[in-house]
């Protein structure tokens, strides 16, 4: 399936300069994506999903704010080594992005048409008229009714679902080979969510682009993704294909996440499962395994030494000292290890 060198993120780290010094937002981010594949990145709020995705496009102000480490290989080129103008050629052209809140992500003082046309004109040698017609085509493709009329409207005149369709039209206008969707359905009604997901899957079928799908919704992941990277506190803790994630999760955090999904036929009087405790702040990162403060299996080694992301088999990676023991002995391991 596809080219192995499509996107390889190796040990990516992103640091921010703040008034209290350098803060590492994400670290040790490693995953890869093949052409036409949909990779889900899941995790709680604040675990660094969005930072990861925006780091790939280098959207942070690198002069004043952020610095990166590691490598992001896209079609063989390391994006982190490209010049600004080379990045500008890639953004919106080869790699596009859709954001969480379509209202605040669209410029309020320009019409939808102006914004889509701009994306087209930035990367294609077309006349304004041709670009405008192409923008109408894109809107049609995303299923917006009466696109000839809508194209002259402003974002505040559209509904939430329609705004996200506009964002998708804009992102796909130059037929990118990689789309990064950062919680594209989170700000939408449930019914609209399903429509937007379906639309994205339809459009993907036609173009065979790769998608990185960032979400905290495991239900959405199950429906759409082929592979998943689970993030916790700025690190990838597990990466695998979708079936083994749901059937054979290895990391205690992934297990906790999966258990916390309420089931429709579950016992209504029972308390919902949750992952105990809260995510520590980035200023107060545990010394060893980052999940050790919330993990029932954690022992002294976990608290002192950080585990690496290691391969369990060809398609399954996990960052845990004891995943093998836990796999063999299950919950019993917890009692013996403490």
């Amino acid at each position: 399936m596809g080219d192995h060198n499509f996107l390889k993120v190796e040990n990516l780290s992103t640091h921010f300069k703040t008034e209290r010094g350098k803060v590492t937002a994400v670290e040790g981010i490693t995953f890869d994506l093949r052409e036409g594949e949909i990779l889900g990145i899941v995790g709680e709020s604040g675990c660094g999903k969005s930072v990861t995705s925006q780091s790939i496009l280098r959207l942070f102000d690198e002069k004043h704010l952020a610095s990166h480490g590691g490598r992001i290989l896209f079609k063989g080129k390391n994006l982190l080594e490209l010049s600004n103008s080379e990045m500008e050629d890639i953004r919106g052209n080869e790699i596009s992005m859709i954001f969480q809140d379509p209202l605040s992500s669209l410029n309020p003082v320009f019409t939808v048409g102006q914004q889509i046309t701009e994306a087209i004109l930035l990367h294609q040698k077309l006349s304004r008229k041709e670009a405008f017609n192409q923008a109408i085509e894109m809107l049609k493709l995303t299923g917006i009714p009466a696109p000839e009329k809508r194209i002259n409207e402003y974002p505040h005149e559209l509904s939430g679902g329609m705004r996200q369709r506009v964002m998708i039209a804009m992102a796909l206008a130059c037929k990118p080979s990689l789309l990064i969707a950062d919680e594209p359905t989170t700000a939408l009604d449930v019914t609209i969510q399903a429509q937007i997901l379906e639309l994205m899957l339809d459009l993907k079928k036609e173009s065979n682009m790769g998608i990185i799908f960032i979400t905290h919704d495991l239900g959405v992941v199950a429906e759409t993704c082929t592979r998943v990277a689970v993030m916790y506190l700025g690190q990838v803790v597990e990466e695998t294909d979708i079936d083994s994630l749901f059937e054979k999760p290895l990391h205690p955090y992934t297990k906790g996440l999966l258990k916390s999904i309420p089931k429709i036929d579950g016992d209504r009087n029972r308390k919902l499962n949750e992952v105990e405790g809260t995510v520590p702040s980035l200023n107060n990162i545990p010394k060893g395994c980052r999940f050790s403060t919330r993990c029932k299996f954690a022992d002294e080694k976990c608290r002192q030494q950080m585990p690496e992301l290691e391969s369990h088999n060809d398609t399954h990676k996990v960052r845990c000292w004891h995943y093998k023991e836990i796999l063999e002995r299950g919950d019993q391991f917890a009692t013996t290890s403490n």
């Binding site: 600004n84 954001f99 309020p108 003082v109 994306a119 930035l122 005149e157 992102a171």
Partner: protein
Amino acid sequence: MKEYVLKRILSLIPILFIVSLVVFFIIHITPGDPAYVMLGDTATEEQVEELRGQLGLDRPIYEQYFIWIGGIVTGNLGYSYFMDMSVTTALLEHLSPTAALALLAEILAICIGIPFGILAAKKKGSYLDQSLMGFSLLGISIPSFLLALLLILLISVQLQWLPVAGYAPISEGIGMHLKYLILPAISLGVMQAALIARMTRSSMLDVLNENYIKTALSKGAKNRSIVYKHALRNAFLPILTVIGQTFGVLVTGAAVVETVFNIPGLGQLIINSIERRDYSTIQGVILFITFSYVIINLLIDLIYGIIDPRVRLSQK
């Protein structure tokens, strides 16, 4: 948009009505009979009565108001006995120096304030930003008359590049006109430039953090287009408000600088009229100034509507 414009214009009527009431009553709020005040201590009873008749002060107050307002609507602001000419004529004579001065000062303020504000926002936290903002603080703090005196001392007296004071109408050539206006315009414009720069900086910083800036970046837009196209237009509303306010201040508040530079503008007219207790001129000038302030703000409101489509909508 039509509806918005109409609504904004209609909303001026009550404002102008209240303004006219206030201005009209100035003459009645001041203690003593205006006729007495105007004629001085030595006037006889008959002379006072005669002037009261001429000024219409012997009629009921509402009648006086309607006569006055009726005159204003037809362009007649009254008659100044001191200058022996109609107030409208006096006003028009003194208007062009003030208007030219205010315009030049505002152009200077905008041309300095906005680029400096943008620069400071782009280089937030740098030494450039800090020194620009330091200068702007200085600009806001220094009184215009002091700056005027310092400029005269340096440029006109020491270097002798520009005239010390005076005014040349535009009919004497644009070069001559500007030669006399440039120092007063700088003294007036520096403070406004500082205000505009500070507002531009903070407004740009707000906007540059918005999500749609990230969207523009992710589309592959160039830095220049992000700052000047995507951000500036959004950041412009608060900047425009400040420009409107500063322009109002320039029209009304040029009096001090006009006095320092001896420019025969509205400021001089009003100060002289106050000294002479020339009530009809005071009324006329104040009414005119208020009117221009209101009109400037109307224009600003209309430009809001052009820049931001959401303003049009919310006003429906």
